[in-house]
Symmetry: C2
Subunit: 181 residues, 2 copies
């Protein structure tokens, strides 16, 4: 793992922060590369050095968060759902600005898709149709059921301003997961 030049990290950090900030102010369509370079205090060309266009930037932004969530999942894979969910919702809470903005923006479908895809991967190994409560049921159906409800709950929680604290959400969702897996 060769270490990265700090200039790269600083530029990308500035660009991403500027982009999120702009997303809270105007629609994705109205954000220009010039806007981003202005608020990031970075040369316009620098943005093209790291991203193809603003959609690529948005994708990479989403990808990074998905990556972080995956990391969290892996480091808590041996706990029960209720406690494993806590760092999950805490991460969402810590990055509330990003998630609420992305869900309210035109980037929402893109985010939703990546989110669903990620969750399917994560839950795939948890489904057991050979024995237990789900014996005889269809694997894909259960998977889709779980993932869709999970995404729905997260979307609801975020767009409604996080009406309950993370640990309550973790508890509630944990119970629902255990009931169905």
């Amino acid at each position: 793992m060769s270490k990265v030049d700090r200039r790269i990290l600083k530029s990308q950090e500035a660009i991403k922060n500027a982009f999120i900030q702009l997303m809270t102010q105007k629609s994705l369509d109205d954000i220009t590369i010039q806007d981003i370079s202005d608020t990031a205090n970075v040369s316009r060309g620098t943005i093209y050095l790291h991203y193809l266009d603003k959609f690529d930037l948005l994708d990479k932004l989403i990808e990074e968060h998905i990556y972080e969530l995956r990391e969290i999942c892996e480091s808590a894979s041996d706990e029960d759902f209720r406690s494993a969910n806590v760092p999950w919702f805490e991460y969402l809470e810590n990055n509330y600005l990003f998630f609420s903005t992305i869900l309210a923006s035109k980037g929402a479908p893109s985010f939703r898709n990546q989110f669903v895809e990620f969750l399917i991967e994560e839950f795939k190994d948890e489904v057991d149709v050979t024995e237990g409560k789900n014996h005889g049921l269809n694997e894909d159906v259960i998977l889709q059921f779980i993932v869709t409800s999970y995404v729905g709950i997260v979307e609801w929680w975020i767009t409604n301003g996080m009406p309950y604290p993370p640990h309550v959400m973790a508890e509630q969702v944990g119970i629902l997961l255990e009931r169905n897996l």
Copy 2:
């Protein structure tokens, strides 16, 4: 006026902010260049690209604030002392972190000297010993009297946590100045 590369401004900004932040945490003697480069997130060599050493950095930092104060003076030179003083104390208030830190640090004497020198320049033309209330008095004595008291008041105001708002200080000091000039 050739415009400056934004990289220069960004680096210097990061370095100066890191330095001020470190000054609030430890003594000037205990601050290393490595400390500064770490908290500024800048290569150690970059600091030497802009400053000779930490004392030079401190000097330049002071110099810049003196320069700003001089600008304020010039843009308000035709008003009476009471109103001309307002932006003065407001500037001190806005940069409270810097001024309080510098006055509490080992850099205080250096700051005080530059401050005195600057004030002498500013008040030099205001003293009139040919007529009026100061007729017959010694110019240097009056100048020293005014400047010393001004510095003393500012030091007191800053180190005591700005017990009165800027406009009150401006009013009070304005009256005292008009009484003596």
